[in-house]
């Protein structure tokens, strides 16, 4: 359908779109207060950006160092070139251990690889244990935000969903009551699980350790009970040294939710006693991005701050992006992979630049969105009508005389055309005019008035020269 149509649907319910906007703006404001409380905030951002760019430039070396050190701790490292390989690796580990029940903590990578439906197809029961993820899983819809997956759902709707699936009282919408119900339900799932799967926030080359950040502790519960822990990560999650972690942990939660740090930042160095730790490192198009002008989009630490600040995301909702990662960063990553299906995303942006300035690792998001538009043009994927308009405009603007003439005609036409025609839906002016008036067309342009003024001044000067003479 494309972003404009889905966004128009979302904004059509003005009250809901404003509610969504305010909910996310609230998170953005919390982030602002937290960022302001750190005097070296901008220095932290610059440092994080430098570490990430350094790591990406030597990624192959750091990945090998990580593999060596993780293996030394007893972890098994797997390499997946794409989503299919990733899913196959996960499935075969689970099948080896005859796993029937899998608990998962949040992992955008497995969303990207569409792991859940694949596993379910192979008879494995998968439970997402992050509360928001569980809500969207029960509702059979994708997350609408990478940190707040159920931000688009109101508590009354959660109540209905839990009544249907978890047997809570009909009409109950008290968040505490609902959370408690989810907690009891998930506790059951944790106890029954044969294996736990997590994402990875940071993998440290120097130590071979991985770090997983959650607020609910669900990753720890998920991998603490069952003997098998599978950790899935995109290959860009590397950082060189343990001491670099401090920079990112200080930025991550402050940027994401306005907390000083995530409630749980859990470090794993090898498997628990008697258990197994499998780390699946996935490429799935990342090498290609790394080699392109869009490489800095791989620096993303998935905090979601660009979504919270994006005035378009806040008013159009995550689902309007039809993409695992929505918002500004998703509008870069997804069209790079599937440009045909997602060619409207780089244009779902007013180029305001708020995302670039909020990003904790200083990805020049809006510059990349700008560059991505040219990238789409190079693949012949721009909307034809728009491309034609731009060609015509460029022809006009290349000839000053033609520009002046077209300007005069257009202004005259705007003054004389009856309102119902000007504002008819069939013209670009009509699209503008659905909610807005067009500017009033003046009789004379600036250049005409300026020329008259110059001529008048010159003739006055002439006149006074003559009378003086």
């Amino acid at each position: 359908m494309g972003h404009p149509a889905l966004a128009a649907d979302f904004t059509a319910n003005e009250e809901r779109a404003h509610w969504h906007d305010r909910a996310l703006w609230f998170v953005r404001q919390k982030r602002d207060r937290m960022a302001a409380s750190v005097p070296e905030w901008e220095e932290l951002r610059a440092t994080a950006s430098a570490i990430k760019q350094h790591t990406q430039s030597l990624l192959a070396d750091y990945l090998q160092e990580f593999e060596k050190n993780a293996t030394a701790h007893g972890a098994v490292v797997h390499w997946a070139a794409d989503a299919e390989e990733h899913n196959q690796i996960v499935l075969s580990i689970l099948q080896q251990h005859q796993v029937q029940n899998l608990v998962k903590s949040k992992s955008m990578l497995t969303e990207e690889c569409h792991l859940n439906p694949w596993l379910e197809k192979h008879g494995i029961h998968v439970v997402d244990t992050d509360l928001g993820e569980r809500i969207v899983q029960l509702r059979e819809e994708p997350p609408s935000h990478i940190v707040l997956p159920a931000i688009h759902i109101r508590k009354e709707e959660v109540g209905e969903c839990f009544h249907e699936h978890l047997g809570t009282e009909k009409g109950a919408s008290d968040p505490e009551y609902l959370t408690e119900a989810a907690r009891q339900h998930l506790r059951d799932c944790f106890c029954k699980a044969d294996a736990g799967l997590t994402g990875v926030n940071f993998a440290i080359a120097e130590t071979g350790g991985i770090v997983i950040c959650t607020n609910e502790g669900n990753a720890d519960l998920g991998v603490g009970v069952p003997p098998v822990h599978i950790a899935c990560m995109g290959m860009e999650k590397l950082i060189p040294r343990a001491e670099d972690l401090s920079v990112f942990l200080r930025l991550l939660a402050r940027s994401a939710t306005g907390q000083p740090v995530t409630t749980y930042s859990s470090h794993f160095h090898g498997p628990q006693q008697g258990g197994e730790l499998h780390i699946v490192i996935v490429d799935n198009g990342r090498t290609e991005i790394l080699q392109s002008e869009f490489r800095r989009s791989l620096d993303c630490i998935r905090c979601g701050a660009c979504m919270n600040t994006c005035p378009v995301y806040r008013r159009s909702g995550g689902h309007s992006y039809e993409s695992t990662v929505p918002g500004p960063i998703g509008s870069i990553l997804t069209p790079l992979r599937t440009p045909e299906e997602h060619s409207t995303l780089p244009f779902a942006c007013s180029l305001c630049g708020s995302c670039t300035d909020v990003c904790p690792v200083r990805i020049p998001l809006h510059h990349q969105l700008f560059a991505l538009r040219e990238h789409l043009d190079s693949k012949n994927l721009l909307e034809r009508g728009k491309k034609l308009q731009m060609k015509v405009l460029a022809t006009v603007f290349s000839r000053p005389w033609l520009y002046s003439l077209v300007g005069r005609i257009a202004r005259k036409a705007l003054r004389w055309t009856p309102r119902f025609l000007t504002y008819s839906r069939l013209t670009p002016a009509g699209l503008w005019g659905k909610a807005r008036e067009l500017p009033e067309a003046p009789r004379k342009s600036f250049r005409e008035l300026y020329r008259e003024r110059q001529q008048q001044t010159a003739s006055e000067r002439n006149h006074s020269d003559r009378s003086n003479g």
Partner: protein, 262 residues
């Protein structure tokens, strides 16, 4: 000092008053300007649409039109940012002339304060709401933005602050985008309009009587909504405010006249 005036195409066609106000303000500062008639459009609509092949000839045309001036002054942060920040992809990077034009193209408030060091007096007794246009704010850094924890003065506010009687509206969201965004305003019309309405609602709650900005494009979009909703907010480019203040001397200049009358 050789100063050229760069009037963005849509200002030329739809807001000639803003161009004239810019001339009046610059002349009041003792600067005489040239208006090279060959100028058309900086190429931003094409570049923002991804059509770099269409933007390129316009960038080259811009460079040849404005070569040789000490400053190219424009009452638009957005068009200035296009020239300064995006022309390096469009024109020959080795070309000295192009590099000079890029670095000498400057937004009006920056020119008035950072180059001329001029301050304005006069009267403007209105509750004024400043819309920080995004490209001036985040690409030219003409003010501090709410995302970055870096202190910066707002040049626009500094320019207006000296006017007698002016008061500034306190917004709940000081620098959210108005939703114009060039072709975005049409291709994402629904979101664009909602963003504009939300900005205006913020100005309404803040008691804004006059809404001002450094970019007429944002104001064109916001004014379109204001007129459609028949709201009591007047929209003015800051150059128009300064030009109006110049015509209505403030207390400091008015006082001697009153004393003379006694």
């Amino acid at each position: 000092m050789k100063v050229a005036l760069f009037i963005p195409c849509y200002v030329d066609q739809f807001y000639p008053g803003v161009g004239l106000a810019t001339v009046a303000v610059l002349e009041a500062c003792g600067v005489s300007v040239d208006f090279p008639e060959g100028q058309t459009c900086c190429g931003q609509p094409m570049a923002n649409s991804g059509c770099m092949d269409q933007a390129r000839p316009l960038a080259e045309h811009f460079v040849s039109t404005f070569a040789g001036y000490d400053y190219v002054v424009a009452p638009s942060g957005s068009c200035v940012s296009m020239v300064r920040n995006h022309y390096d992809h469009l024109v020959d990077r080795q070309d000295q002339k192009a590099a000079e034009v890029r670095s000498r193209t400057i937004e009006l408030s920056e020119f008035l304060i950072n180059v001329l060091g001029h301050s304005f007096s006069g009267s403007f007794p209105f509750q004024t709401g400043i819309h920080q246009s995004c490209h001036g704010l985040r690409e030219l850094r003409l003010a501090g933005c709410s995302e970055e924890m870096t202190c910066r003065d707002s040049l626009l506010r500094n320019l207006l602050e000296g006017l007698d009687g002016i008061q500034f509206a306190q917004l709940q969201r000081p620098d959210e985008c108005c939703g114009f965004g060039g072709t975005f305003a049409v291709s994402e019309a629904a979101v664009s309009a909602m963003m504009g309405q939300d900005r205006i609602d913020d100005h309404l709650q803040a008691g804004t009587q006059v809404l001002t900005a450094g970019d007429m494009s944002c104001l064109m979009h916001l004014d379109g909504i204001i007129r459609r909703r028949r709201l009591p907010i007047r929209v003015m480019h800051f150059a128009e405010i300064l030009a109006e203040a110049l015509r209505t001397p403030g207390l400091q200049t008015a006082e001697p006249a009153q004393q003379g009358g006694e």
